[in-house]
Amino acid sequence: MNKEERFSDEVLKTYERLNKEAEEGGYHLNPDKDFTLRLVQGLLENERRYGYWCCPCRLAFGDKEKDLDVICPCYYRDSDLEEFGACYCALYVTDEWIAGSKKHGSIPERRPAKFMREGYSETPPPQSLAPNPQPLSYPVWRCKVCGYLCARPEPPGKCPVCKAEKDRFERFM
């Protein structure tokens, strides 16, 4: 029996979409397809439970504002990919990780202990090093998931790089 027959069409279709978006954005899903399909199944389960894609390896508060940093893709993904070659749940991995030059296994939790206890809270964006020489014609918005920047009256509905939603942008300048 084909192993993938255990997964619903919804899981398989979501996997295909995520895989396409990941590759287009320069990311890779974990090539262990069974492992990855189960994570996708977990994300869809969390969508049904909470209404959003809480990380399958983190316990949700069930309050979107408190879980905002760990909605997939989480705010810690890119730092974890850089340091460990995989994100916390290992849905996303790097070429080096796939090639086997990074150890496969659980990685340390990067989410601050305070957020784990109390939930996420917004921190003020970093102050610019020098004052702006002249006023900007548009505000600059930063995607807190992948760092994408754009200058426009409002943040985009979805990040064109990582598909994070509008509420995960911060005013950068």
Binding site: Q41, G105, E109
Partner: protein, 79 residues
């Protein structure tokens, strides 16, 4: 021996698979499947073992293993 896990987590599943494949007897609790007081209580017990409250967390006698650390589990369980 107790395992605190999430039903949706890949590393928690790998931990269960390792224990099952080696016929290890253990209790586990999928904290994400708990509701209300049961969930609060399970989270509090987990934090007594692992103050970060991350998953998986396994208590084996007096030892606590956090994350899926296959080498450490094999060493402690002599498998």
């Amino acid at each position: 021996m107790t395992l605190y896990a999430l039903s949706t987590c890949g590393w928690c599943r790998k931990t269960k698979e390792l224990l099952n494949a080696n016929q290890i007897q253990y209790e586990y609790i999928d904290v994400d499947k708990c509701q209300g007081e049961e969930r609060t209580e399970a989270s509090a017990k987990l934090r007594e073992l692992n103050p970060r409250g991350s998953f998986p967390t396994i208590r084996i006698d007096d030892e606590v293993v956090t994350g899926f650390d296959e080498d450490r589990l094999r060493e402690l369980l002599e498998i």
